[in-house]
C-alpha cells in the first residue's frame, strides 16, 4: 500500500508566544520548531506501522521553506521511505491543501494521513480540503485504524464518545491521540534518513482567500485570590456571588 503523510512544522510546545511588526508577525526569535505532535506521534507512526505489516511505501510531504528540511529528516528517521517538500511558505490552509492535492492526484495513494490539527493555528482544515480536492472520503480525529485487505475499520473521536466507521481505500484520515504510540528515532534510523530521497517541488498557483491581519495576547489575569483551605464555604460564596459561575 502507498501512504502519504502530511507533516507540518510548529513552535515547540513551551515556546514563548510574542509578536513583532506592530503585532502582525509571529516573533520566531529564540523559538525552537518541531514536527507537529499529531503528525509525528500518531499519523506518521501509524503509517509506518501499516507499511511494516502490509508492505508498501510511506511518503512524507511538507509545504514549507528549506529550513523545514530538519523536521522532514526526522520523519525519514522515524520510518518514512522518502519525502517531498513543496517549496512555498504555508500562508493559508487552502493554499497548503491545494499544493498537497496537486501532488497527490496522480499518485494513487491508498491513504492520505494528516494530524488532527496543528498546535499553532489550530485549524483542522487542511485534511478536509485535501479530501474535497481529491473527492475522497474523509475521517477526522481518528483514534484507531485497522486494515483488512482494502477495508479500514476506524474509530473516530466525537463529543463524549466514538463513532465506528468502515471504508475502503482510498481515503483521507486525520490522526488523534490513540492512533499509535510515539516512536523515538534510533541511531540507525537517523543514519539511514540522511540517504533517503528528499525531493523539492516548486509550487503551482497558490490560492490565498484568508490572511491574518493582527495578533493579540490574552489579557493578563488579575492575580490569584487565595482562599483559606479550612474555609471552603468562602470559596463557594465567591463562586456564587462574585464570579457567578455556580
Amino acid at each position: 500500500m502507498k501512504f502519504l503523510v502530511c507533516i507540518s512544522k510548529t513552535p515547540e510546545t513551551t515556546a514563548k508566544i510574542a509578536f513583532t511588526e506592530n503585532n502582525t508577525e509571529f516573533d520566531t526569535s529564540g523559538v525552537q520548531f518541531i514536527m507537529n505532535p499529531y503528525d509525528e506521534w500518531y499519523a506518521l507512526v501509524r503509517a509506518v506501522e501499516l507499511k511494516e505489516s502490509l508492505g508498501g511505501e510511506v511518503v512524507a510531504i511538507n509545504v514549507g521553506p528549506a529550513s523545514n528540511d530538519i523536521i522532514i529528516r526526522k520523519a525519514l528517521a522515524i520510518g518514512a521511505d522518502r519525502a517531498i517538500r513543496i517549496n512555498a511558505e504555508p500562508e493559508s490552509a487552502l493554499g497548503v491543501a491545494k499544493l498537497i492535492a496537486d501532488h497527490a492526484k496522480d499518485e494513487q495513494y491508498d491513504i492520505v494521513f494528516t494530524g488532527k490539527e496543528t498546535i499553532d493555528f489550530n485549524g483542522s482544515e487542511v485534511a478536509g480540503m485535501v479530501a474535497e480536492y481529491l473527492d475522497l472520503p474523509f475521517i477526522s480525529y481518528a483514534s484507531k485504524l485497522e486494515m483488512e485487505g482494502q477495508t479500514a475499520t476506524i474509530n473516530r473521536d466525537i463529543e463524549g464518545g466514538v463513532e465506528g466507521i468502515k471504508v475502503d481505500t482510498p481515503f483521507v484520515i486525520s490522526a488523534a491521540k490513540g492512533l499509535a504510540e510515539q516512536r523515538i528515532p534510533n541511531m540507525r534510523g537517523i543514519m539511514m534518513a540522511k540517504r533517503k530521497p528528499l525531493e523539492v517541488i516548486e509550487p503551482g498557483d497558490i490560492p490565498a482567500p484568508v490572511s491574518v491581519v493582527k495578533y493579540e495576547l490574552p489579557e493578563k489575569k488579575e492575580g490569584v485570590k487565595l482562599v483559606d483551605p479550612e474555609n471552603m464555604d468562602e470559596l463557594v460564596r465567591l463562586l456564587h456571588e462574585e464570579s457567578k459561575v455556580i
Binding site: 505532535p37 498546535i119 489550530n122 471504508v167 484568508v210
Partner: protein, 320 residues
C-alpha cells in the same frame, strides 16, 4: 442576503452547540442586514425550536442517507442549499463534525474559511473575525476576501440566546452523492455533558496518586453537575479514559468554571484550559505554576480540601 447556519444533531437530537451556532448566526445576520436561515439534516426532533434562537427560516433535508454523519454527503447538501438561498456566510459549529466539514465546504464553495472563531465578525468594509491560536496562548484576527465566507464557532464562546419563538420547518430535497463510507456504530456516554460543551469542569492530575482516589472528584462533579477532565499523564497511565485529557495535545475547552486539583499547571496543560472564565486551583505546593493562571487558589492537601469543598457545596445546594 442570507447567513446559513448548519444546526448539528446527534441521533436526531440537537446539540447545545447547534443552539449556540444559531444564536451566533442570527447576530451575524443582524449585523449584515441579512436573513438567518438554519439547516438541519436527516431525521430531526424539534427542528422548529431553532426559531427560538433567531432563525427566520428553518430548512430540513430529511433523507435516510443523512441520518449518520458523512462529510462528503453533508458537504454536498449544505453547498446545494447555500447556493439555492444565495448564502454569503455559512456558519458551522467547531465540533468533530464541523471540523470535518469546514475544509471540504471551503473547497466546494471556493470560499475563505476561518475555523474556531470566538467572537462576532467585523463586517464594516472588509470581513474580519478573530479566533484563538497557539493553543489558546494568543488570538489572531483574520480577513476573508472571498464572496462567500465560512466560519466554525468555538463552543462556549458566544453562548445560547433565546430571542424568538419556534418556527415552521420547510422540507427540502437535495441530491445526495453515494459514499463508500459506512458508519457502523455511534457510542456516546449518556447523562454527562461532553467536555467541549461543558460549562463546569472538574479536573484532576497526578497529585491524586492513583485512580482509586477519584471518588472525591466524581462526587464533586456530581454535586456541581460538572464534567470530569484530567491531565495528560493521568490519561497516559490509564487512570482515566483518554477522552478526558485536556491541554495542548488533548481537548481544548473554555468552560465558565474549571477546577484544577493536584495539577501542576504545565504550559501544555494551560494551553487547553486558560480560556476558561474562572479557574480554581487546589494544590499543596504554593509555587505550582497553575496559581499564576488561577482566579481563586487554595493551597492545601487535596485529600482534605476536596471533601471539605464537597461538604460546603452540598450545604449551598441544599439552601439554594
Amino acid at each position: 442576503m442570507s447567513v446559513l447556519v448548519f444546526a448539528e444533531t446527534i441521533k436526531g437530537q440537537f446539540k447545545k452547540a447547534a443552539f449556540e451556532a444559531v444564536s451566533y448566526a442570527s447576530k451575524v445576520a443582524e449585523k449584515m442586514g441579512a436573513d438567518c436561515i438554519a439547516l438541519c439534516l436527516g431525521e430531526v426532533n424539534g427542528a422548529g425550536n431553532l426559531g427560538k434562537y433567531g432563525a427566520s427560516r428553518i430548512l430540513n433535508v430529511n433523507d435516510g442517507a443523512l441520518n449518520h454523519f458523512n462529510s462528503q454527503a453533508y458537504t454536498s447538501v449544505i453547498a446545494q442549499v447555500a447556493r439555492d438561498i444565495g448564502a454569503q456566510v455559512i456558519i458551522l459549529s467547531h465540533s468533530s463534525n464541523g471540523k470535518s466539514l469546514i475544509g471540504r465546504l471551503a473547497v466546494k464553495m471556493e470560499a475563505g474559511s476561518v475555523s474556531g472563531v470566538n467572537a462576532l465578525p467585523d463586517v464594516d468594509g472588509s470581513f474580519k473575525v478573530t479566533k484563538g491560536v497557539f493553543s489558546g496562548k494568543a488570538f489572531a484576527t483574520y480577513e476573508i476576501n472571498t464572496d462567500v465566507k465560512i466560519l466554525s464557532l468555538m463552543g462556549n464562546s458566544f453562548g445560547v440566546e433565546e430571542t424568538g419563538s419556534a418556527g415552521n420547518v420547510e422540507q427540502m430535497s437535495a441530491e445526495i452523492p453515494s459514499s463508500r463510507l459506512q458508519v457502523t456504530e455511534v457510542e456516546v456516554s449518556e447523562g454527562t455533558v461532553p467536555l467541549p460543551e461543558a460549562e463546569l469542569v472538574v479536573s484532576a492530575g497526578r497529585g491524586m496518586k492513583g485512580p482509586e482516589n477519584w471518588g472525591i472528584i466524581e462526587e464533586l462533579a456530581d454535586i456541581l453537575g460538572a464534567t470530569t477532565a484530567c491531565s495528560r499523564p493521568v490519561a497516559d497511565s490509564d487512570w482515566r479514559p483518554h477522552h478526558e485529557h485536556v491541554g495542548q495535545t488533548g481537548i481544548a475547552i473554555r468552560p465558565n468554571l474549571y477546577i484544577a486539583i493536584g495539577i501542576s499547571g504545565a504550559i501544555q496543560h494551560l494551553a487547553g484550559v486558560n480560556n476558561s472564565k474562572v479557574i480554581v486551583v487546589i494544590n499543596k505546593d504554593p509555587e505550582a505554576p497553575f496559581f499564576k493562571a488561577a482566579t481563586y487558589g487554595v493551597v492545601g492537601d487535596l485529600f482534605e480540601v476536596v471533601p471539605r469543598l464537597n461538604e460546603a457545596l452540598r450545604k449551598f445546594k441544599a439552601e439554594a
